[in-house]
């Protein structure tokens, strides 16, 4: 039996765990008691971190499409074919996209960027779920001047007042929910905001439910309340910047008793923290919400005060690192602007080729629309808007190269399949939402001929003219430590001796409060929304783990036509009962779904599980919520 310490491959909390392997197969998990993030506490997913690799439909040898069928090939042949095809597209000026999973290690992400912006000369590089996460960080950056989270879950657990903005934190980030719950048990005040009642809102001291489309309207009274409670008065130093404009934007806001109380807790707290977890909202709204909470954090002293955290939790394990490495169409590694000539030169020197620095397109726009597509890891799973049954969506591309550990619908459209290690079998580093760089160590051996994705990406790069190497993930990290801003000079020795390395956070010295948008006009519209932007069943690591997958599978079986939840009062008014069909009509289209009743839903609010988002595609048109008319069928 072999046991290694590694990072959990599921969400962005960054828990540490030991993986046991028997005969090279990951076969179990032990919690790490002293790991600074998890401290021995793992969620159900963490406890099954070994399972997908051991039980999933693994890809074990390279394959090439010949005469319409995928057939086994050797590595050299498969890599040559992929590289030749991509080179041909590039030389004929056709578009190529690279979609890289936000579960890849930093090293793999970096090599994917090198492949795209270097070897392939294309700016189209992105990760699914990146846009939402980047927008949330951008909102923070608008206020703090630094588009990144601050603080750790340990800080949250030690806080005395917490503002939580969430879709459903208990489901999306159970370990973060744990930190908040322990804080509440120790007496902290918890204020919850989100589109629906949740387990966390039941534990909250106060909770506010917002109307999709009017999210900031429920945050504005908190900010106004904070100002009324004395926040932002002289003495708050640099935070006075923008204060007048903010005050002016809140002039018409009425502050109720609850908002006043909640604001006072946050203002008076010694260690206030703000946690933002994924919630279903239009991209612009995500940014508005984080601007609002960053305002609040700034006013309460939660920006840069030791012990105060402002955490934006991404859905996937290495979303932060992926963004840092430059897996984004809108920035260079380190989050640097595309026109940062100095960085471009350094990258070009390291890569031995010119660096393409145009603005590329988002992942959703690459699918089926670029002539060539390289899909690295479980990159098509779980994105919003839905990519749809992959085989179909990808058919517009001439050449599809898939690097994955598991068989997925993308194989139906794949021309070249390159089997790689599962996340739990990978080596390298990941970066947590808390800014810690941590080791990922192989908890098992990839089956058959599968190789680490870093090796495959390096080989593709070599065949596309990038010269030799790297020969190991550590060599890639060395290069990252030389060129990627924020990672320069990281102490690689400390990665092994300690729990990781805290990357230096830029100081908050350009903070400026931002005005809030005018309140949305009141509306009696019924609104249908996706139930959380995160869903276990859309995650292949859940789907392939025998103990985890059961709930989702059964839910789909029980509701083969999907489901839409509504409040009992609404159902009564419509004259429908549980199981009856209703038609939802939006400006974009319509859908018919059976009704389930849910007491916790606010009147006028309808909710559809994320797993059934395909059934609602016409109604939502790519957004997570829409105003609808509801008719009995």
């Amino acid at each position: 039996m072999r046991t290694v310490l590694t990072s959990c491959p599921f969400c962005g909390c960054g828990c540490g765990l030991y993986v046991h392997a028997r005969d090279g197969i990951p076969s179990g998990v032990a919690a790490s008691q002293h790991h600074p993030v998890s401290q021995g506490r793992l969620c159900a997913r963490g406890w099954s971190a070994h399972a997908a690799a051991a039980w999933g439909p693994r890809l074990t040898r390279p394959m090439l499409r010949r005469d319409g069928e995928l057939r086994g090939a050797d590595w050299g042949e498969a890599l040559d074919t992929a590289a030749r095809g991509l080179a041909r597209l590039r030389s004929s000026g056709r578009s190529i996209g690279v979609i890289a999973s936000p579960r890849l290690t930093n090293e793999e992400s970096y090599l994917a960027v090198r492949l795209a912006r270097g070897a392939l000369g294309t700016p189209h590089i992105d990760a699914p779920l990146r846009a939402e996460f980047a927008l949330a960080l951008a909102g923070i950056g608008e206020v703090s001047g630094v588009a990144s989270s601050r603080g750790t879950l340990q800080d949250v657990e030690a806080s005395d007042a917490i503002l939580l903005v969430e879709g459903d934190l208990a489901a999306s980030h159970p370990r973060a929910a744990s930190a908040i719950t322990r804080a509440v048990a120790a007496g902290a005040k918890l204020v919850c905001c989100g589109p629906a009642a949740t387990q966390m809102s039941r534990l909250a001291t106060l909770s506010f439910t917002w109307r999709p489309g009017a999210e900031t309207d429920s945050l504005a009274p908190l900010i106004a309340g904070a100002l009324a409670a004395g926040a932002g008065e002289p003495g708050a130093g640099q935070l006075a910047a923008g204060l007048d404009a903010l005050r002016a934007s809140l002039a018409a806001i009425a502050v109720g008793d609850q908002a006043r109380a909640a604001a006072r807790w946050l203002v008076e707290a010694a260690r206030p923290s703000v946690v933002v977890a994924p919630f279903p909202a239009a991209p612009a709204a995500v940014r508005r919400v984080t601007v609002a909470v960053a305002n609040l954090a700034a006013l309460c002293g939660g920006l840069g005060r030791p012990g105060s955290a402002l955490l934006v939790l991404p859905t996937r394990s290495n979303a932060q690192g992926s963004l840092d490495m430059g897996v984004t169409p809108e920035a260079l590694p380190g989050g640097r602007p595309l026109d940062d000539g100095g960085l471009r030169d350094r990258l070009a020197a390291a890569w031995g080729t010119a660096v393409t620095a145009d603005r590329g397109v988002d992942a959703a726009d690459m699918v089926g629309q670029t002539s060539g597509l390289v899909i690295v890891g479980d990159a098509l799973a779980g994105g919003v808007p839905p990519v749809g049954p992959a085989g179909e969506a990808l058919s517009g591309s001439e050449l599809v190269v898939v690097l994955d550990a598991f068989a997925s619908p993308a194989l139906d459209a794949a021309d070249v399949v390159l089997p790689v290690a599962a996340a739990i079998e990978s080596s390298g580093t990941v970066t947590g939402a808390d800014g810690w760089l941590r080791r990922v160590r192989p908890g098992g051996d990839p089956p058959g001929e599968a190789r680490g994705a870093w090796w495959v990406l390096a080989e593709l790069g070599r065949r596309l003219g990038l010269g030799g190497g790297p020969d190991s993930p550590d060599q890639v990290l060395e290069e990252i430590a030389n060129v990627v801003p924020g990672y320069r000079g990281v102490d690689r020795g400390a990665l092994d001796t300690g729990w990781g390395v805290l990357l230096p956070a830029p100081p908050v010295d350009r903070a400026a409060l931002q005005p809030l948008p005018a309140p949305a006009s009141p509306s009696d519209d019924r609104i249908v929304m996706l139930d959380g932007v995160y869903d276990w069943g859309s995650d292949p690591l859940v789907d392939h783990a025998p103990i985890l997958c059961r709930d989702e599978r059964s839910r789909r079986k029980l509701f083969p036509r999907g489901q839409v939840a509504m409040a009992p009062g609404d159902a009564e008014a419509l004259g429908v009962r549980q199981g009856w069909l209703v038609k939802l009509v939006s400006n974009h289209g319509e859908a018919v779904l059976p009704v389930v009743l849910r007491r916790e839903l606010a009147p006028g609010r309808l909710s559809v599980p994320f797993a059934f988002r395909y059934m609602l595609a016409d109604v939502l048109a790519g957004m997570p919520s829409a105003s609808v008319r509801v008719e009995r069928v």
Partner: protein, 361 residues
């Protein structure tokens, strides 16, 4: 009952007591290493402790806070291949994959030795799980008594520590310059005997020092206790109000960790895993705290709410019905559930809430 099973008679009590000089302990571990695989507490990363196979005596920890991961993994691995399945639909071969091998679990804490005794009971109860019992019989348990309560432990409430009267093959107690080795079974006797010259009969003085250490340890428990009595009465007779279960279940995040790390939990599922050209039928850890644990093929779920599952856990662990069957509560007081719980629904917290009728979060 096979001879080997009988060899660890639960009620027989210590057979003899020996002493070994501390300076000779490594020599003893070396002789034990020659007898079979030795699983012992080792240093993991950054202060973590893990039970794992050791290769040299110096890897074995003698003073440590108990491992968060229970050594029950030795007998009940999280994924446990039971059979190799080869063939195809018109003809199959099924063969057991468990090799028999002598193994020694060294320095199991009293709670964990008690957990192993508990698991033996449930595998003997009703239909005997002989494959498990063979593996259990092949394992020699050397427990290490606890001169001080650990931070979350409440083993005295469960009759599972800090010192044991039975349920071990050998119980070691650190007396300073010497270690006392109490033998609880023929297997334990053999382990001490094969190490001729290292052990000598313990003196009356050493035995009395051991008794004194036990008394001090028991005295040191203070607040870390868990009073099962009245909770058991209420749970067994259904006199815990539903609203209390409702409230408590909001503080549970269904991670299942309380059951996974519990030395007395053994819920499992059986699944086939692809392996080479065939399949391995595996027994794997499952948890009654997971929503789909009772989900039927039809889609019906008799325990649809988290409350139902929290209730189930405490019924199985603390009800008189199970107490009568198992002869003890389903808890050894190791306190691991306090550490691993994502929420706050650990054993002492829930038992206290049921006893007092209120939940404090």
């Amino acid at each position: 009952m096979s001879d080997q099973d009988a060899a660890r008679g639960g009620s027989a009590g210590p057979r003899g007591a020996y002493a070994i000089e501390r300076s000779r302990i490594d020599d003893w571990v070396s002789t034990v290493l020659a007898l079979g695989e030795v699983i012992a507490p080792m240093a993991g990363h950054g202060g973590d402790v893990l039970y794992a196979p050791v290769e040299t005596p110096d890897q074995v920890l003698w003073e440590f806070d108990n491992s968060l991961h229970p050594p029950k993994e030795v007998l009940l691995p999280q994924t446990d291949p039971l059979f190799e399945i080869r063939g195809e639909r018109s003809g199959w071969q099924v063969a057991a994959v468990r090799p028999r091998e002598p193994r020694i679990l060294l320095n199991a804490r009293s709670c964990d030795a008690s957990g192993i005794r508990f698991l033996r009971g449930v595998h003997e109860e009703d239909l005997r799980d002989s494959a498990y019992l063979r593996r259990d019989a092949d394992l020699t348990v050397v427990s290490l008594s606890c001169p001080q309560p650990c931070s979350q432990g409440f083993c005295i409430c469960c009759d599972a520590g800090p010192f044991l009267d039975d349920g071990f093959d050998v119980q070691l107690t650190d007396l300073g310059e010497v270690l006392l080795a109490e033998v609880g079974s023929a297997k334990g006797e053999a382990l001490v005997r094969t190490s001729d010259g290292l052990f000598r009969p313990a003196s009356e003085q050493e035995l009395s020092r051991r008794r004194m250490l036990e008394a001090v340890a028991i005295d040191s428990f203070g607040e870390s206790t868990c009073h099962f009595g009245s909770a058991m009465r209420r749970i067994s007779t259904g006199r815990v109000v539903e609203a209390l279960w409702d409230t408590m279940s909001d503080w549970c995040f269904e991670c299942g960790a309380c059951t996974l790390v519990c030395p007395t939990c053994y819920c499992f599922s059986i699944k086939d895993r692809q392996s080479g050209g065939g399949w391995q039928r595996c027994r794997m850890w499952d948890s009654c705290q997971y929503g789909a644990f009772t989900l039927e093929a039809s889609g019906h779920n008799p325990r649809p709410h988290r409350k139902d599952r929290v209730k189930r856990r405490f019924y199985h662990k603390v009800s008189a019905q199970y107490y009568l069957r198992d002869g003890t509560v389903g808890c050894v007081g190791c306190g691991r559930c306090v550490t691993v719980c994502l929420g706050t629904t650990d054993m002492p917290a829930v038992v206290t809430a049921i006893r007092k009728g209120v939940w404090n979060g």
